[in-house]
Every structure is written in C-alpha cells, then in structure tokens.
Symmetry: C5
Subunit: 265 residues, 5 copies
C-alpha cells in the first residue's frame, strides 16, 4: 500500500470531518440528492469525454495510486551491470536460458531481440515505441482523473445555481433563506472536495508513478543497447547511474545482490 496516499486521505479527510463536527451537526453536510448530482454529473461528463472501456479501466489504474510498488532502480542497475560483465565472458547467446528467470518483461523483450540478432537501431525502435505508448496509456489514466477534477467543481456550481434559482423562486421571507442556501452550497462543497482532495491529487500520483516506471524502462533500454554493443561494465554502470541522484549511487552492491541474484542469477 502506498503509505503517502493512505496518510493523505486520512489527514485531509479527518480534518474536514472534524471541522464539520466541531461547528454543528454533521447531518447538515449530508444531502443525498446533492451528492447524486455531483457524482452523477461528473461521471456523465467523464463518460461523454472518454470511451467506456477507458473509464472502466480507470478503476484498475486507481489501484496504482494506492499500491506500493518498490521501484528497484538500484537492483535494476546491478542486474544490468552484472549482465554486462557476463556478456563479455559468455556471449549474449548464453542469456537465452536465463530469460525465464527474469522478472521484468521489458528487459526480457530487449534481451530476446538482442539474442535474435536484431541490430541496435531496430531494438531501440521497438523498445522506444513500446515505451512511448506505455506513457500514452499511463497518461490516459491521469488525464481521466484530472478531467474529473475539472468537471466536479463545475457540476457542483451547476447544482448550486439550481438550488439558488429554486430558493429565489419561492422566497417569500428573506430571513428564511438560510437553510435552502446552505443546501445549495453543498453541491459546490462536494465538487470542490472531490476535485481537490481526491481526483486532482490522485491524477498527480499516477503521473509521478508513471514517471518512475518510464525512468526505469529508459535505463533498461540504455542498458540493453550498451550490453549488445559490448560496452565495458564500468561504462554501463556510469551510464546507468547518470539517471539517478548522486546520493543514491553509493550503493553497496552486496546489499542489492540478493535481489539481483533472484532476477538474473
């Protein structure tokens, strides 16, 4: 579980709820029709905006925002450096039998193409195309959430206008406008709340996770091409470490070897 997403929802939700409880009855903030119109209007606009299959798949994508996938950047570097060492000793064909032990399908694909004897430009083309469209699909998930974050406050405002018109139409005693006006404001409250404490930050988290994965895959591309070109493993290491922060570079290889061994052993 991504602890930050969880903590964020707890902190923000808890403060909103306690702020509601402290100032009066929580029931004032619960209004099913208002809730329905904001959720329904936002979902409706989203369905007009995106294909059904994309909207459905968003629920799966949302898990990414909550799931904690350890990004094994350092272990990936160790794996690739290790492969670079072995390739000079045993030749690239010796990897054939080990491919099935590797976890990362992207790395496997790249190595398989190298073993098959494709030239480096073709390998780079295929892997880069794959990465481009992976980014595109990731972006779709983030875009749907950010679109919902744009529609939710607009639909909330729409609900508030509906409430205001209804209130104004039957207003007889100006001093009695309190409660209906409060109810009219609730849709704006729901819309703003969902947009700013759910949709937009989840969209942001999906973008961050996408970037991490793309970075990892760019390292794989760089590494596979270097391995195929027969670069010295020290050069491969230098090239790959350029991707990460200097602070994270001083890894004791041993600490990462178990993970690596499991993958590339």
């Amino acid at each position: 579980m991504d602890i930050a997403t969880f903590m964020g929802i707890m902190v923000a939700g808890g403060l909103v709820i306690s702020s509601i409880m402290m100032g009066g009855s929580a029931a004032w903030f619960i209004n099913y029709p208002s809730f329905m119109i904001v959720i329904g209007g936002t979902m409706g606009a989203t369905l007009i905006n995106y294909p059904l299959s994309d909207v459905v798949s968003v629920f799966k994508v949302t898990q990414n925002a909550f799931a904690q996938k350890t990004q094994p950047v350092n272990s990936m570097i160790s794996t690739l450096v290790d492969l670079a060492k072995k390739v000079r000793r045993d030749g690239i064909l010796s990897f054939e039998s080990r491919l099935s032990e590797m976890d990362d399908p992207f790395l496997v694909k790249g190595l398989q193409m190298a073993i098959d004897g494709l030239d480096s430009r073709a390998i780079e083309d295929v892997l880069t195309t794959e990465l481009t469209y992976l980014e595109e699909r990731h972006r779709l998930g983030a875009d749907i959430f950010s679109t919902m974050g744009t529609f939710a406050p607009a639909v909330g405002m729409l609900g508030t206008i509906i409430g205001l018109v209804q209130m104004l139409m039957q207003m007889e005693d100006p001093s009695s406008i309190g409660a209906p006006m409060a109810v009219a404001l609730l849709t704006t409250f729901y819309g703003t709340l969902m947009a700013n404490l759910l949709f937009l930050p989840i969209s942001g988290k999906l973008k961050v996770k996408s970037k991490q994965e793309v970075l990892l895959k760019q390292m794989v591309i760089e590494g596979v091409l270097s391995i195929q070109a027969g670069d010295n493993y020290r050069v491969v290491e230098q090239k790959l470490k350029a991707f990460i922060s200097p602070k994270k570079r001083d890894i004791t290889p041993d600490a990462n070897y178990p993970a690596k061994e499991k993958q590339a052993g």
Copy 2:
C-alpha cells in the same frame, strides 16, 4: 453508437432534470429568451472565430463522438503481419490485384506507392504528411467544441449581468428581487450546463477518437515500411505489437482471422 457518450448524456441529463424536478417546478428553469441568448451568443462568437464551412462540418464531426467505430487494432496487426508473410513468398507486385479488396484507404495508398516502386523515404514522407494534416483536421473539430465550451459560460455570465442590471434599475422593493434574480441566473445555468455537460466532454471524446485513429495509421506506416523493407514477419509483428498494451497482445490469431481474411484474404 458510442455507448459511453450515450450513457454519459443519459446519466448527467437525468440527474440534472431530476434535481430540477425535486426542488420545485421545472418551469422555473425554462426561459426561452435566456436560452436564445446563450445559444445565439455562443454560435455567434463561434462563427466569428471559425470559417463557416468549418462550423458546418462540425455537425458531421459530432457524429464521430456518438458513432461506435470498432478500432480493429488487432485485426490490423494480423493483416499487416499476413502481408509481411506473403511479400516474401510472392513479391510486392502480387498485392496489386488485392488492393481493391482492402478496406483501409490509407493502407491501400501506402501499398500502392510501394508497388509503384517509390523509395521508403518518399512513402514515409507522403504518409506522414497525410497523417499530420489528418490530425490537424481532427483537432479543428475538437477545437471548435472546446471554443464553444469557453464562450458558453462567458455568454451566460453576460446574460446574467444584463438581467441584474435590468433588475437593479427597476428595483423598488428589495424583497421582490427573488424571481428576476432567478431568471438572471438562468443564462449562467445554461452556459455552464452546455459547456460542462456537452461541449467540453464532446471535445474530449473527439480528441480521444482522433488519437485512436492516428495510432492505427502510425501502425500502418510502420507496417508498410517494414513490408517494403522485406522484414521477417516476426519482426513486423514485434514492431507493431509495441504500439499496444501487453495485455491486448496475447490475441489468438484465429479469433481475428475472419476479420483479417475479409480484408486481406
């Protein structure tokens, strides 16, 4: 029919209508002059902004947002891989007679140029130029809707200011401002409604559909160039599958063959 667009309009429209009905008379929300000024002002601004022919053609483009065109990504891959197999057996000239049986004019054009013996750079140039300007024309449709989505709330606000000025000018009894103020708010209601539940999401759907079509055409370009270069069909398959999600790649070729046979048979 694109089921998501339909569902979205049903859900959003249904909730807005029921929310209007529940709170009082639906007649409160019907005001023809207000409706006229929002529709008319938005159309007027759009006509100033775009050539007449473009605005007219938008009505045809709108159908795209509602039409369900199955994107035969997998069947296109099968078709291209199949062509890659045949070209090595029969030579590219053997395709001449089959061109008329193919559905996709873009593919036909690409193959025709290959048969005519143009070099690969010229083919790539022509097809890429065509794709660039196809995207440009698609974008125009999406842009017109997104422009309408920008003007509609602004025109709605304009109508509300007109209503407020008229109300303020003849205000005698402050307690009687309810109904005229409600009417003044209606143009903002219409403008916000049209922008957020119609224009902007339709613009978004057109963009998504354009991306799908562009993706398909990029695969055709990649495929035609690979076929012309005489790539092994396994390489062609790998190159093309890089465009799509890994999950969708494990297609049983048989399931797609009927569709393919119809096109390339």
Copy 3:
C-alpha cells in the same frame, strides 16, 4: 467578405440587443463614461504592451478577419502539378518568361531561385525562413487581439470596483443602491461583451486564416522542391494531395483548369 464573421456579429449582436430591449429600456445599458473607461483602459494597456506601429497595423490585419480570400488549394495543386509536367518537357529555364503571369509571389520567388540554380537546401532554407517569420507576423495580429480580450474584462472589473467604492462611500439608504450598482456593473458588461464577442473570436479567426495560408505556402515549398528535383508529376500530385482532406482530393481537374490556366498558362 467573410460571411461567417459577418453572420456571427449579426447573430450575437442581435441577440444581445434584443435581450436588452425585451427587459426594459435600452438606455439603461448606455453609459458613455463606462464605455470610455473600458475602451480607453484596454487600448492603454495594449499600447503599453505593443509597439505603436504594431497596434496601428492591427486595424489593417482586422480586415483579414472580415475579408473572404478564397484559398485556392486545389488550383494551387493543379498549378504545381502542371509545372511538374512542363519542367520535364521544357526544362526549368523555360519558366523564366512565365513568372510574371503567376499570381503567388511566394511561388514566383521559389521558382526564381530554382531558375537561378540555387541548390535545394538553400531554396528550402530561404522559403522556410520566410514562412517562419510570416507566421510570426500573423501571430502578432492574433496576439494583440487576444491580449485585448484579456485586458478588457480586467479593466471592466476595475471600473466596477470604482463604481462600487463610490456607491458604498455615499450610501445612506440601502434601498437606493439599485441604480448605482447597475451602473457599476456596466463596465464589467462592456468588458465581457467586447472580449467574448469581438476580441477573442477575431483573434481566433486570424489564427485560422494564418493556418490556411501557411498550409498553402508549405505546399508551395514542397512543390517547388519536387519540381526542381524533377519528380514525376504523379508523385508531385500525391505529395501535395497528402496535405488536404481525402474528400477534397477527388477534384475533376477540368473544373480547376481554367483557374490554373489563368495563373500558369
């Protein structure tokens, strides 16, 4: 006259005026000082933002938004294809005498350079530089209008704040705030009206017209380079038709020949 610009102004203007007339006296919406401050403030900000010569030249540019220049895309293709035919028969030097009969100075310039024997890279450089800076100058016109569309509502709001402060300062009887508040709102009305029904859509139209002209000139560049390279006229045709929509490609050449003959005959 660009009919869409004209229609748009008629429709939007007519609806605003009739909406004003229907709700009361039109005189309520006429206030010269308010009008002066919005126009003057917007012009003032625009003059600070742009050189005087650019602001003055905008008035000439505005005509483009109203002028109907038929974009002879198809006739340009015919002209270029025709030249491609002739160049293989008569050589490029034979065009020298015909240059004076051609309408398009950009085409004439390109051909002249080809006749002068400049190599294709130099021709492409000069024509592309010219096109880049043409776009730049076009963009300037659109930018000035879009800047005015940004300043107008802000100046309108400024006027409204001035009016509100004056009203609040001399407010004695709360029930008498109607008329001064209505007057204060007028500057916001003028600013929003001018921005959304004039400045922003005109800026948009200028952008669209610029795109059309740039497209035409890109076809000329492509065509001149193809002609110089001695491409077969069918190839030239294919390259040029890639720029336009498939629907518009099935032109009966005859229908366009008169136009072409006039230019290139």
Copy 4:
C-alpha cells in the same frame, strides 16, 4: 522614449483618474495603508521568488519598455550585404581594421571569429549559445513583471479579506458597512490596477522588444555565416530579406546607405 508605452500610460491613467473624479471625491481612492500592503506584499512575494540581484536589475530593464531603440533592420541588411560584396573583392581579413568602426558588438564578435579562422560550425555554436542565453536573460525581466502581475491581484484580494474580516467583526449596524467595505475593496482595486495597467503590459512590451532584438541577431548569424561561406551578395540579400515582411523589403538602398556607411563604411 517609446511613444506607445507613454501614450498607453497616459490614456489608461487619465481615464481611470477622470472616472474616479467624476463619481465623487478622489480622496475616497487614496488609502496609504492599503497601498502599502499591495506594493509591499507584491514586492515581498517577488523577492522570495527571485534573487535580489535580478529584482534590482529589473529597474534597469524597465527602461527598455520606455526607451525607443530604433531597430535598424533594413540598415543591418544593407550592412551585411555590403560586407558580402566586399569579402569577395578584398577577402575577409580586410575587415580586421574596420571592426572598430562597427556599432553592433554581436556582429563584431561574429566577424572576429570568422577572421580568426574558426570554422562555421564553431561560429554558429558560439553565436547561437550567446543568443540563447541573451533570450533567457531577457525572459527573466519579462517573467519578473508577469510574476508581479500575478501576485498583485492576489495580495489585493488578501487585503480585501483582511478588511472584510475586520468589518464583520465589529459590525453592529448593517447600514454602516458602506465605508469600511469600500476601504476593503481598495486593495483589490490597487492590485488589479497595477497588474493590468502596469505589470502585465510592461512584461508584454519587454517580450516584444526581446523578439525584435533576437530577430536582428538571428539575421546577423545568418549573414556572418553566409559571408564566411563566400555566398554571392544577392543570395545573402535574399536570405536576409526572408526574415522581414515583404512590404518592408522594397527599400531604396540609397535611403539606407547613410546609416550603413556610418556603420560599415
């Protein structure tokens, strides 16, 4: 003095002042504490946002928005064409003695490198790097003003909220809220005024002036490279005139020769 900047400030300022005078006492709009908080808050935010040296240097940059530097585009073309003529007659080394007579340090630098025998790629590299970072420094000035134009209204709103809270806290008689509310609005007035009639348009003018200077320097780069390559002076002329509007190209060389002679003579 840039006459447009001056006129703009006169027109906009004059109209705001007369609009204030016509509606009541000008003293209503003068409130030193409100003025202090807007100016101070904006300056404070700007100082947090930019290094002190950059903020200080902005005052020098501001002069650019007011200074009228004639952009000698045509005279620069004449100078460069003239040099192109001479280089074929006398050789590039003959320019050595004339460099000190030339006004433009950028041109001098380019010619000096050509005289020193650097190859054209190195010259282009150095001049382009210099131009890139010149643009960067220009952009900094425009960015600081546009940042101030973003912070000023926000700080104005902050001041208004402070005023509203103070008014609401001591409100006893609802009919007496006029004056304090007017005062609360003044910070929003100052913030909006400064942003829209000063900071944002000055930022815009600085951008325009930067573009003009960059255009001139791009012509110098193109010209120096052409001169070094020994291009015919007619080709140089054609290349350089591509940068400017066709209307401005039909310059009678004589009219410009005095200016040119002074520089390159």
Copy 5:
C-alpha cells in the same frame, strides 16, 4: 542565507501583520481549527499527490530557497580555461592527480571520463543524461511547492464553504452573521496567504536556483568536451563566455585566480 528570500518574507509578513494590527484586534485573525484545516488539507492533498519520500525530501530542498550559494560562474570559466591551457602543455592524463583537489563533482566526473579515454559522444551522453535527471529532480521540488500553492486556496475555499453552511443553518437573526462569516473567511485568508506569500514564490525561487545550476553544468559539459578536443584556450573562453551576460564577461582574471587556484591549482 539568501537575503532576498529573507527580505521578502520580512516585508510581506510585516505588512500583513501591521495591516491586521492597525484595523483591530489581531486575535480576530487567529483561529486554530481554521488553521489546522488549511494546513492539514493542503498537506493531505500533497501526500496523495506525491510519494512520501518526495514530500519529506522537500523540507531539505526548501533550504535551497533560503541558502545563499554563490554561483561561481566566472571562477568556473577561469578554471576551465586554465585546464584548457594545461591540457595542451601536459596532456589530459596529467589531470589525474589533481582531480581530488577540485570541488565540483560534475567536473571531476567529466574529466575522469576524458582521462579514461571515453570518446566525446559517450561523455556528452553520460553528462547530459545526468543533467537531464538532475533538472527532473529539481523540478520535483518546485512542483511540490507549486502544487501546494494550488491546493491551499482550494482547501481554504472548502473551509469557507463549511463555515458558511454552518452559519446559514443556524442563522436566526440576520444581523448576527458578522462574526461567524468573518471566521468562515479566515480559511480563505490562510489559504491565499500561504499560497501567494510562501508556496508559490518559494517554488519560483527553487526554479531560478535550478536554472543557475543547470547553466553552470552546461558550461562544464561544453568545457570538458572542448578540453578533450584540444581546443585552443581562447576558443574555450569564447565558447564559455557566450553563456553569460556581456557585462559580466570583462572580469579581471586576477580577481578570480585565487578562487581558481584553490580549485584547479
């Protein structure tokens, strides 16, 4: 300490506080629950949006906005020019022993690769990749602050809506709405204050500092490649000075030599 950040916070904070004190009791603006909801909601949204480790590391990054790191641009130029002189006399291998005396790890890395005999394209690749991802990590810090600057006012508005609903729900006497409405406004006040006088300007300062560092590193890349290529030291100097403002170029080398000697001596 970055004096501008410090001054900015003093000036803006001081004016806000004095403006609060002058208009009444400062206690009116202190409301812990309101403060909690704005801080907590903003932090919550930020935690949903970014990984925990990134949010934590922001506190370290914030120091950069306050720290005064002298950017030794001129001393770096002297260092590199000096190296360019020595490399022609002693050869690049002679630098080996001096690397440990140099301060800049990026320069050391570049020189080490040159000493190791990597070709210039590989060196450029590694250093550029490193710079790209350094920028990426810098941008993350600026992005987190700018995200907080977006969420803070939204959360503030959310708190105000909660306060308004609570006020409206228990409103009995319209004349008693003063104090609760003032309290409701406080969350908007806090949100706007934090966004515009802290989060957004700090985000801006981090961007500026990142640009300065990137500029310095680009000079190092250019310099190392020039040194490896054996360029004359005058050429190296010219190339490097192109990065900085002409005004800063006329440095008396002597003034910088001590700094340089310390590094490269």
